[in-house]
Symmetry: C2
Subunit: 397 residues, 2 copies
Amino acid sequence: MNYLIDTVKSVAALYGFEQYDGPVVEPLELYVGKTSKEILEEQAFTLKDRNDQALMLRPEITPSLARMVAAKAQELTFPIRYFNYGLRYRYEAPQKGRNREFYQYDFDIIGSDSLLADIELLSVAVEILKELGGTQDTFVVYINSRSEMNAFFASIGLREDQYRPVLQAIDKRDKVDDEVFINLLVKCGLTTDQTREITQLLAEPDDYKKNFEPIMQLAQAYGIQDYIQVNPMITRGLDYYTGFVFEAKSKIGLTRSLLGGGRYDNLVASFGARPLSGVGFATSDTVLEEFVKDINKVPDLQTTQAPVLVTVFDQSLQKLSIETAALLRRAGIKTELYMNMDTLQKQLKYADKKNIPWVLIIGPEEAKNQNVVLKNMPASSQQICILEDAVGIIKNS
Amino acid sequence: MNYLIDTVKSVAALYGFEQYDGPVVEPLELYVGKTSKEILEEQAFTLKDRNDQALMLRPEITPSLARMVAAKAQELTFPIRYFNYGLRYRYEAPQKGRNREFYQYDFDIIGSDSLLADIELLSVAVEILKELGGTQDTFVVYINSRSEMNAFFASIGLREDQYRPVLQAIDKRDKVDDEVFINLLVKCGLTTDQTREITQLLAEPDDYKKNFEPIMQLAQAYGIQDYIQVNPMITRGLDYYTGFVFEAKSKIGLTRSLLGGGRYDNLVASFGARPLSGVGFATSDTVLEEFVKDINKVPDLQTTQAPVLVTVFDQSLQKLSIETAALLRRAGIKTELYMNMDTLQKQLKYADKKNIPWVLIIGPEEAKNQNVVLKNMPASSQQICILEDAVGIIKNS
């Protein structure tokens, strides 16, 4: 988890994003009409406080962010670039890349309706997946636009109230077969012609793709064009998206999307501020972990464990061992002091089991001669030296 | 928060502690008979899942740790040194140094009943407060032992069932006046003589302190003796403590303890493992933040903000600005690209408001001559140079 956090944070910093956080337990009403119906009705963890107020464990952070930004809209310098790392809760069936309690990363730019904001964010998304070891062969970022889709719906004669149900049907396209999909469209009240137009759009989107030439040109300037594809099947589930939407998919392994986001024009204003267009995306530690495993890029992580164990010979020499450990720590060396009164053999076994490479032994001889035995466990070798030299050897190893 | 986390983590590493985490939402029964009555009955945030199981937002992590350690007792190499950083929930009245939702740091050593484990942990506690800028003048760590207190109770003829209520009364000693305190003791069934013995112990603990000579000698070897004081009034609230207990107090400002902990001999065994004695302490971001403020040691924190803003002259030069930002980022420089189509004046104003020191301008002249204008905002100066030189100047600033 720390490796993922550190990687994501370093990309965030490169793009000038600042970290923020908000409460994990929020009033339930914060999400009503904001997040998706599915989250509110099927995946919510709710509780009541001692004043009978309905609370919810946050399923996503964008509503909290919008509320906070609305409250500080007078003081903030827009556009803002914020990111969050924190807990989210959704009552879904646990499976690969999905837990009920998980940590999510959110990136948002608020206060710009420019394509440049969309592409900055896309670039952050691509950069994170690349930093984790992803390549053109292992992931793709699909982009689409709800407003372009709506324009297409209008061009084939759909009524406005049909737009959202049709988008939701398309969102399910790759989970159902052709017949079920057509039935979903028919249920939205579409004519046979309209249904055909839509299935054709999804099957052969070449004409539709031309709408995305401006952003694809920007993608080229960013050097990320090879990771981006227009895909009219991507509509995203959250209610508040108004235009540009995108999601990244692994090309191997995981079917769940690696990250997803979009533009929300009305969310901040809904908390009483002036209209401030936002664009954001989220990813989670669970999907990123699966992705890194799938592409076989789990790094050889440096353990946080100490490289040296200071043994304790007996009660009478305990003080000397403590002082030695204190000196090592003051020299910046991560150090374990053996805490139980055990035989030296047992202490060495402990170091061996925990893969601690260096062991410092101070027995009666060493105490008398003011030196130490420095044992290298992997090499099964040892030397007698003064403590200062041992510090140097461990530091340079 | 990141400053506190980083500081605590660096001390944890020096002492060989490894980070772990567990669920934040736990079954309610995990805490029954383990944590304090106060937490369970007055401060619990509880909810039910869709199978009607009672859940609780974790008020502390030690029971989760004990359960996890019990489950892995066969595989782990003891003693273990673990630390956690994560959310906790307690329904208390919010005040200075106390929120209902807060992040706590927990340090535990499990599998050693040695005094060395107690003193290692004390040393971690002292080191954290020192790293944050604390001194002998600003904090003290009080130590005591429930078993030594019990031995004293036995010596003055208390019945075993009186030990706990009397410890709880003593825990409240510094919050009530003499009369109320004596009444509390009388309510525990103490005789006038016993009550006098106890008030005398608390007022003049010199004899009692002799019981702590072994650990005070170790404290000397650690060089932390000046931060440690025996104090029979410290008994700690959690039910599972069995012996050594301690807490740190600020000498200025905050009255709430800075950290607290103790030894728990039976907790791991209560989850079905063999007896494994543990000792641990916890502190929180809220108290540490108040402490750092009280002692006037809030550091001059490096902002995570980018040091350079790349402006966008107009649509036709947008691509060049994007490529410039991409190059800066590849050079490891945190970079903001201005995203809206605004006048240069407005873009400079943005940099000024956000205290971004460097602004890179690429106008038509610069595009033609393949150079950039590098503006230093605090100095109100600017120079024309090639991009590579600008990179060098920003990097070295």
